[in-house]
C-alpha cells in the first residue's frame, strides 16, 4: 500500500497552511513525504506547539526562590517544599476527546497528566480536576457528565491516586464542548529530578509500556480544531483508550529504574506519541535520534510509519539509557511483566531519522521540529458584546423578592450545590495521605515517607511530614464579562481558598480554555485573561510552573465562556494550622473579614452573580472588582490568625455571596455516610445599616472570609485586625438548628435540614 500523494487538500486536512508548508520545504530542503507531513501536522498543531499563544505566555511570572524547574523547560515544573523535598505538578486538558467519548476522553486525560508527573521522577500522590458542562436539563449533557466522572473515577481509582479536590460548573456555553482539566501532583527529593533530554551520543533508546495501536491517531491535531456535528463520528478514532493498571505498573517500573544509574533521559509519550517524545528529547539534548520502527511493539497488523509515529496509544514511555546499563531495563521491566524494546540510538546529527526495516521513512532536524514552529501574533479586538455588559446598571436589577427562596434556589443551583455526587465516585483515601477530603475550600494532603519514590516500606530515612493544600478555581462567567478582572479573580480565589485552609501559596498551574484564536474577539479574551493571570500570580508570589492551552473550544452554537482554570498549591506550616470551612461548636463567634460590600463597585458585587443568573436569567454586568493588594493583605491576615491558633473555621465568600457562605458553613460538615453535623447560626447584619439587601446577602464582592472563633479568641482576632487595618465585623454566633439572618429591614430564617437536603442532593436528583 503506497502513501497518498501530497496535494493541497491533503495539506489542508492536516491543518497546515500554505505558508507553513513553504516553511517545511525550507527546513527539509525538499518536499515532505506523507509520514513527514503527518509529523509536522501534529508537532505544529496548536496543542503541541502553542503557536498562537507562545508569545502571550511569556508574560507569566515563572520564577521564585523556590522554583527548581521553571515552566517550559521540562514536562512539568518543580518547586522546593523544604528539607530537600520538592513537588512537581501540572494541569492539562482533554476537552475535545471528552466531548466525543466522555469516559475514555476523561480517563486518558487523567492518565496523561499522571505520566507528566512521573516522567519528572516524582511519585504522583494527588489529583484534582476542573469540569464544565452545559445545563443538566439536557439529556446529552447528563450523558457527558456521567461519562466524564466515571472515566476519571475509573482511571484514578485503579491507578491508585486519590482525587481530593475540584470544581464543577454548569453553563449553556459549554454545551457540546465540555471542559475536562486534570491536575496531578507528585513528590520527589531534589536529587530525584529526572530530565527529558536525549543525552549521550551512542546511548540506546528504549520504548517501555504496552504495544502501539491505531487509537488516538492524530489526537493532537483533533484537539486543535473546532468541534462540529460530524466530530463525534469522524473523530472517535482520535480518542485514546486508557489502561490505568498498565500505567500503575509502568510508573512503578520507571521509578525503580530511575533509582539506578541507567537513565540518561526519560519522557512520556503523550500528545503526538513517539514523534513528540523523540524530537523533544533530541532537541533538549542537542542531539539526534535514529528510530527503528520495526522494533516498536505493535498490537495492530500492518501499521504504517505514519500510523506508528502519530499513534497516541497510552501508557508508553521513551527512555534514553546509559550505554552498558541496558540490563537494568530488562530486569526491572521483566519483573513488572511490562513490554519493552530497544528502538533506537542517540546520534550526533541533530536529526530525527526514522527507519522501517532499514528504509528511511522520515528524516528531519529535531530542534527545528520541536522548537521552531511558526509563532503567530493573532489579531485581537475588544468584543462587541462588552458594550451591553458595561451598560448594565444597578437600577436594572429587579427588587429582591423572597430572599428566603432565593437562598434555597442558589444552594440547589448545580454550580453551587454540593458536588458529592461527583467526588464520592473518586477514591479520596488511597495512600492514606488525605487530611482534608473534598468538601472544604481546599484539600489538604500530608507528604510522608512513602510519598517519595523509593521512600516506602523499606526506606530507612525519616522524612519530615509536610502539609500541602490545593484548590482549582475559575468563574467563567466573570471572565466572559471582563476577561482581565475575571482572570485576576480566578487567581485570587485560589489563593483565598488556600488561605482559608491555613496555607501559603507556592505555585500555580493554569489551563487556558478558549475559543478559536483566529477570531479577533476571542483572541482578545485570551490576551486579557493572560494579563490578569500574570498579575495575580505575581502579587501572590505563586509563579506559573507550567500548564496547558486548549483552543478551538466551541461548537456550532458558539464559543465557550473563556475559562482560564487556575490550580494552586500551598504549604501549611504545621498540622495544627489545617483549617476547614464548617462551623465547629455552639457558642463560637462568627466574624466577617473584609468589606461586606465594595462601595466603589457601581453594581455592588451583583454583576455576573449567581443571583442574577438564577433569579432573573441575567448573565451580564461588570463583575466584582479584584483588588489584588487588598486580597493579599486579607489572606496574609487570616493566615496569621490561623497560625496563632484560635480559628475554628474559615470559609471564603464566592458564588452566591455571604448568605451562601454562611449556609455552607452550617451544612457542609459531612461526617460519614448519611451523617452530617448541621450547626446553625444567628446572624445579625444590622451593623451594615441600610445597605441593599440583595448586595449584602448575595452580592459577590471579593476579598471576604467568614471566620469563627471562641469568644476569647474572637476578641484577639478583632484587636489584631484593627491594628493591621483589615476590616472585621462580628456578625453572629454559632448555634441552633436554623440559620437566621437579621438585617436592618428583614428577619430571615431557614431550617437547616431543608437547606442541607436541597444543597446535598441537587445534582443527584437531576441525575436520577
Amino acid at each position: 500500500m503506497s502513501d497518498p500523494a501530497i496535494t493541497p487538500e491533503l495539506i489542508d486536512q492536516h491543518g497546515i497552511t500554505p505558508e507553513e508548508y513553504e516553511q517545511i520545504k525550507v527546513i527539509l530542503g525538499r518536499e515532505p513525504n506523507y509520514t513527514e507531513l503527518g509529523i509536522f501536522s501534529v508537532m505544529w498543531s496548536e496543542h503541541c506547539s502553542y503557536k498562537n499563544t507562545r508569545k502571550l505566555l511569556k508574560g507569566f511570572p515563572t520564577k521564585s526562590e523556590k522554583v527548581l524547574i521553571p515552566a517550559g523547560e521540562e514536562n512539568a515544573g518543580v518547586i522546593d517544599i523544604g528539607d530537600g523535598l520538592a513537588v512537581a505538578f501540572k494541569i492539562e486538558s482533554h476537552n475535545h476527546p471528552s466531548a466525543v467519548e466522555p469516559f475514555q476522553g476523561a480517563a486518558t486525560g487523567v492518565g496523561g497528566i499522571i505520566r507528566d508527573i512521573f516522567t519528572m521522577g516524582a511519585r504522583p500522590v494527588a489529583a484534582i480536576n476542573s469540569l464544565r458542562f452545559g445545563s443538566l436539563d439536557s439529556a446529552e449533557v447528563r450523558r457527558l457528565f456521567r461519562g466524564v466522572v466515571a472515566g476519571i473515577s475509573h482511571y484514578g481509582n485503579c491507578f491508585g491516586i486519590p482525587t481530593i479536590a475540584g470544581e464543577v460548573y454548569f453553563d449553556p456555553s459549554y454545551e457540546g464542548n465540555p471542559l475536562v482539566n486534570a491536575f496531578a501532583l507528585g513528590v520527589l527529593r531534589h536529587d530525584q529530578i529526572a530530565r527529558g533530554a536525549a543525552k549521550g551520543v551512542g546511548n540506546p533508546v528504549f520504548y517501555v509500556g504496552p504495544a502501539t495501536g491505531r487509537d488516538g491517531l492524530a489526537g493532537a491535531a483533533f484537539a486543535s480544531q473546532d468541534l462540529t456535528e460530524e466530530s463525534a463520528d469522524q473523530q472517535r478514532g482520535a480518542v485514546q483508550v486508557g489502561d490505568p493498571f498498565m500505567e500503575k505498573l509502568c510508573m512503578e517500573a520507571c521509578l525503580e529504574l530511575l533509582a539506578t544509574d541507567a537513565v540518561a533521559g526519560i519522557q512520556d509519550m503523550g500528545a503526538a506519541g513517539l514523534t513528540c517524545s523523540t524530537c523533544e528529547t533530541a532537541a533538549r539534548g542537542g542531539t539526534g535520534i535514529e528510530l527503528r520502527l520495526d522494533q516498536v511493539p505493535q498490537r495492530a497488523a500492518n501499521m504504517t510509519p505514519y500510523e506508528l509515529m502519530l499513534s497516541e496509544s497510552q501508557e508508553r514511555m521513551l527512555i534514553i539509557v546509559n550505554k552498558g546499563h541496558e540490563e537494568e531495563v530488562r530486569r526491572i521491566f521483566d519483573k513488572w511483566d511490562l513490554p519493552w524494546a530497544e528502538v533506537g540510538t542517540v546520534t550526533d546529527t541533530g536529526r530525527m531519522v526514522v527507519t522501517n526495516h532499514g528504509e528511511v521513512v522520515a528524516d528531519m532536524p529535531a530542534a527545528k521540529l520541536a522548537d521552531d514552529a511558526p509563532l503567530y501574533d493573532r489579531e485581537s479586538k475588544e468584543p462587541a458584546y462588552l458594550a451591553a455588559v458595561r451598560a448594565f446598571k444597578l437600577e436594572q436589577v429587579p427588587d429582591l423578592k423572597e430572599p428566603e427562596q432565593v437562598l434555597k434556589n442558589l444552594l440547589a443551583w448545580p454550580s453551587i450545590a454540593s458536588k458529592n455526587w461527583v467526588y464520592r465516585q473518586y477514591d479520596h483515601t488511597v495512600r492514606n495521605g488525605t487530611a482534608v477530603f473534598p468538601g472544604s475550600d481546599a484539600a489538604v494532603l500530608r507528604i510522608k515517607a512513602d510519598s517519595l519514590p523509593g521512600g516506602g516500606v523499606d526506606a530507612d530515612e525519616t522524612v519530615p511530614e509536610k502539609y500541602l493544600a490545593m484548590s482549582c478555581d475559575c468563574n467563567g462567567t466573570y471572565v466572559y464579562l471582563d476577561p482581565y478582572e475575571g482572570a485576576k479573580i480566578a487567581v485570587a480565589e485560589a489563593a483565598r481558598n488556600l488561605a482559608c485552609s491555613g496555607a501559603e501559596p507556592l505555585g500555580t498551574t493554569d489551563n487556558l480554555n478558549f475559543g478559536n484564536p483566529h477570531n479577533p474577539e476571542l483572541f482578545w479574551q485570551l490576551k486579557e485573561a493572560v494579563r490578569g493571570l500574570a498579575e495575580g500570580c505575581t502579587v501572590f508570589n505563586a509563579p506559573v510552573t507550567g500548564g496547558n492551552v486548549s483552543l478551538y473550544n466551541q461548537n456550532p452554537n458558539g464559543a465557550i465562556d473563556p475559562t482560564p482554570t487556575v490550580a494552586m498549591v500551598g504549604l501549611i506550616e504545621k498540622p495544627e494550622d489545617i483549617t476547614t470551612q464548617w462551623f465547629k461548636d455552639e457558642g463560637d463567634e462568627i466574624l466577617l473579614i473584609g468589606a461586606a460590600i465594595d462601595e466603589a463597585d457601581p453594581l455592588l458585587g451583583l454583576g455576573g452573580s449567581a443571583y442574577l443568573q438564577t433569579a432573573y436569567d441575567l448573565k451580564t454586568g461588570t463583575p466584582p472588582r479584584c483588588d489584588l493588594a487588598k486580597e493579599k493583605q486579607i489572606h496574609t491576615t487570616v493566615r496569621s490568625f490561623i497560625q496563632a491558633g484560635g480559628v475554628k473555621s474559615a470559609h471564603d465568600c464566592s458564588e452566591g455571596g455571604l448568605a451562601v457562605a454562611l449556609a455552607e458553613s452550617c451544612i457542609s460538615n459531612h461526617v460519614g455516610r448519611e451523617t452530617d453535623k448541621l450547626l446553625g447560626a444567628e446572624i445579625d447584619l444590622s451593623a451594615f445599616g441600610d445597605a441593599r439587601l440583595d448586595a449584602l446577602l448575595f452580592g459577590e464582592t471579593q476579598g471576604r472570609i467568614v471566620l469563627t472563633a471562641s469568644g476569647v479568641d474572637a476578641v484577639k482576632i478583632e484587636e489584631r485586625a484593627k491594628i493591621l487595618e483589615v476590616p472585621v465585623v462580628r456578625i453572629g454566633k454559632v448555634g441552633g438548628d436554623k440559620l437566621t439572618i437579621k438585617t436592618a429591614g428583614a428577619e430571615l430564617s431557614w431550617d437547616l435540614a431543608e437547606l442541607h437536603d436541597l444543597w446535598f442532593n441537587a445534582i443527584a436528583n437531576k441525575m436520577k
Binding site: T429, V457, R673
Partner: protein, 236 residues
Amino acid sequence: MKVAVIQFPGSNSDQDAVNGVRVIGHDARLLWHKEESVGDADAVIIPGGFSYGDYLRCGAIARFSPVMQAVKTFAADGGVVLGICNGFQVLCEAGLLPGALVRNRSLQFRSEQVFLKTVAKDTPFTGGVEEGQLLRVPIAHGEGCYFADEETLASIKSNNQILWQYVSADGELTDDANPNGSLDNIAGICNRERNVAGLMPHPERACQEIVGSADGRAILESMAAWLDKKTQADAA
C-alpha cells in the same frame, strides 16, 4: 506481630497496610506475588487495590499467583489472614472465604466514611472492640456488594461468620447505611475456622486522627493482641 502484606501488580493500598501495622507498633513488610513462602510472618494481609487491573473479575487472577499457594498453606495451618477490599475479593475467588463480591448496586464507585458494627467478638480480628462501639472507617470500592446463595448465607449466619455490618451513625441496621447493596449489610466475614477474614472497608486507612479516624486500629490491634496471647499460650 509480624505481618506480611502481599503485593500484586496493581495493589495500591499495600503501603497503607504496612504503615497501619507500623503505626500500632508492630512489624510489617511487603511480600511480592511471585514469592512462594510467607517466611516468618505470623499474619498475612492481602491489601486493597486493583490487582491485575481487575481483569476478568476482581481477584480472579491474583488467586493463581505463587504467593497465594503459600497463603493457602499458611491459612490451612491456622495462620491469621486478613483480606482488605480487593484482598477480600481475592480470598473469595481463592475459596478461602465463602460468597462473592459483585458490583455496587449504585453501579458507581463509592468513596466515603461508613459506620461498622462488630458482630462476632470471638475472632483474632474482632476481640478488641467494646460493646456497642462503632468503627468509622472509609470504603473505596466499585464492587463491594457481598453476595452468597441462600444455603451459603444460612450457613454463614449459623456459624457466626459475619464479623462486621454496615450500620447508621446510631448503630441501626438500615438500608440507607448500606453503601453497596450487600446482603444483610455484610461488610466483612470470616471462615468457619475463624482464622481467615475479609472486609470491604479499609481499617488501615483509619489508624491516625489526621486522616479522619483512628477507629481502624481496633482491628489491627485485635490481631496483635490475639497473636500475642496465642504465643504466650503456646509457650506455656
